[in-house]
């Protein structure tokens, strides 16, 4: 289970993730340090999925126009929030995997937090300023436009 706290600047469409809380089952915890570290990595990977990563293909030629670190965005240190991890230690279940599970819920948690913050749902990832502003503009009453 994951929870996300975000702030959305509705004048620029920019989403900042403030905090992520992760409650992760992984059976018997063999090494707390490495298990938690795996969760941090998974959350950051999924945060990139939610906010930044986007392979942009030119619609006419199919060429990728952002095949570089300049335009293919990945979170930097200052884009990564405080991440709290609570491992659910269940030794009776034995050793089970924790490779992929932490990456599954972050993007959904962030997207739901954004919906909770601005009252409208963005239906595709990443949550770019363009999509946030377009969604806000479409769903607002026309009087305020």
């Amino acid at each position: 289970v994951q929870f996300a706290e975000v702030s959305v600047d509705i004048e620029t469409g920019i989403v900042k993730v403030k905090r992520v809380l992760v409650v992760q089952d992984c059976g018997l915890v063999v090494s707390k340090l490495t298990a938690e570290s795996q969760v941090y990595g998974g959350v950051i990977g999924s945060l990139n999925f939610a906010l930044f990563e986007d392979r942009i293909l030119d619609r006419n030629t199919g060429q990728m126009v952002n095949p570089n670190m300049e335009w293919y965005l990945l979170a930097g240190m200052s884009d990564i929030p405080k991440i709290d991890v609570r491992l659910v230690d269940q030794p009776e279940r034995g050793v089970i995997g924790i490779g992929e599970p932490p990456t599954v819920s972050t993007a959904a948690a962030i997207t739901n937090a954004v919906r909770n913050a601005i009252g409208v749902t963005v239906r595709s990832l990443p949550l770019t300023p363009a999509k946030i502003l377009q969604t806000l503009a479409q769903q607002r009453p026309t009087s305020s436009a």
Binding site: T61, V65, G76
Partner: protein
């Protein structure tokens, strides 16, 4: 780095760069301005100056620039800030962007310039890149930077962005090229009324920052400014600021190492509580720094409040003509202008 080179070479085996390597070039390191200028050539694209390398090296590796000679101008050009007689400061073009951001006099007298410098790229880029390099860097348009797309700027006969991926392209100007000017320092330079000193074989000439950057036409589309291939931008001269207040606001998706979606510099002279004159310049919205005269007029004679700032910001983007995917930039630019105005008045924003 070697691995990156190899991958790039393999990927382009079927087309584009035939050599599969950066074209060999000669390299000279002149010791002064005169030597540097005589090492340049009047013919475009043959000889290129190198300072911090934050633009040219990337273009060489992307096979977008293929000069015969590279002239290292780091030692040849001034890297200091000197006071001008009668007030004002002269910034040497070889000064590091990081040094400009932290220079005490710049921070005190031209805070928007210092803020803009502090927002460039990353600490590494700011400590390597120079003022002259930042002002003269080529567009960051992803079609221009991709060797496969031979656009107007590379001698081709089209701009690929209007019918292609244009979410970061210009919302002002109307072509024929829809790049946005990449320099963060160009915008405060225009807002503060800076003058650029250019040195060439026939001596020096002074060009106002506002006249330095050129809107694209079919004739001049391969360049972004009036600098001739055998000239160097040697100094940025900022006039005495007088009793003005300034603000700078940049909207970037990521906190660091990201290009701004839009930004604005505002310089206002006050008459008591009301604005006597204002200069409002937007960045990353047009092929040049884009002065918003309608916004300046809307703000003149008014007190700066949330309402007057918003009205001026509305005026700033009224004539925007976005492409198919960059309509959101109108709202982002409006916000940048509004917040820069409020910041100039000392009102804190997000």
């Amino acid at each position: 780095v070697a691995a990156i080179f190899r991958l790039k070479a393999e990927a382009t085996e079927t087309g584009g760069n035939q050599e599969n390597a950066v074209k060999p070039f000669s390299y000279v390191s002149p010791r002064n301005e005169q030597e540097a200028i005589s090492a340049l050539s009047a013919e475009p694209d043959k000889v290129m100056p190198l300072a911090g390398g934050q633009d040219l090296l990337a273009r060489l590796k992307d096979y977008v620039a293929q000069p015969d000679r590279v002239v290292n101008v780091k030692a040849a050009l001034d890297a200091t800030v000197t006071p001008m007689p009668g007030g004002g400061l002269k910034i040497g073009a070889a000064m590091k962007v990081a040094d400009l951001a932290e220079h005490a006099e710049i921070v005190k007298l031209y805070p928007a310039m210092a803020l803009a410098a502090g927002e460039v790229g990353t600490p590494q880029i700011r400590n390597q890149g120079t003022v002259g390099g930042n002002l003269n860097q080529r567009p960051r348009c992803w079609y221009f930077r991709n060797e496969e797309f031979v656009c107007f700027k590379k001698g081709g006969n089209q701009c690929f962005s209007p019918a292609g991926e244009n979410q970061f392209h210009a919302i002002f100007g109307g072509g024929p090229s829809f790049i946005v000017h990449p320099s963060s320092l160009a915008v405060p330079s225009v807002a503060y009324g800076a003058t650029f000193r250019l040195a060439g074989p026939k001596g020096e000439r002074m060009v106002a920052a506002a006249d330095y950057f050129t809107m694209p036409t079919l004739q001049n589309v391969r360049t972004e400014n009036v600098l001739a291939p055998n000239e160097l931008l040697t100094h940025v001269i900022l006039p005495a600021p007088g009793p003005v207040k300034s603000g700078h606001y940049e909207v970037r998706y990521k906190e660091s190492h990201d290009w701004p979606i839009a930004f604005a510099t505002v310089v206002v002279a006050m008459n008591g509580e009301t604005v006597r004159t204002a200069r409002i310049v937007m960045g990353a919205v047009a092929p040049t720094p884009w002065r918003a005269q309608a916004a300046e007029a809307a703000l003149t004679g008014k007190q700066i409040t949330e309402e007057t700032a918003a009205a001026a910001a509305d005026a700033a983007v009224r004539d925007a003509r976005p492409l198919s995917q960059n309509g959101y930039k109108v709202q982002v630019a409006r916000t940048a202008v509004k917040r820069a105005i409020l910041n100039a008045a000392g009102i804190r924003t997000v």
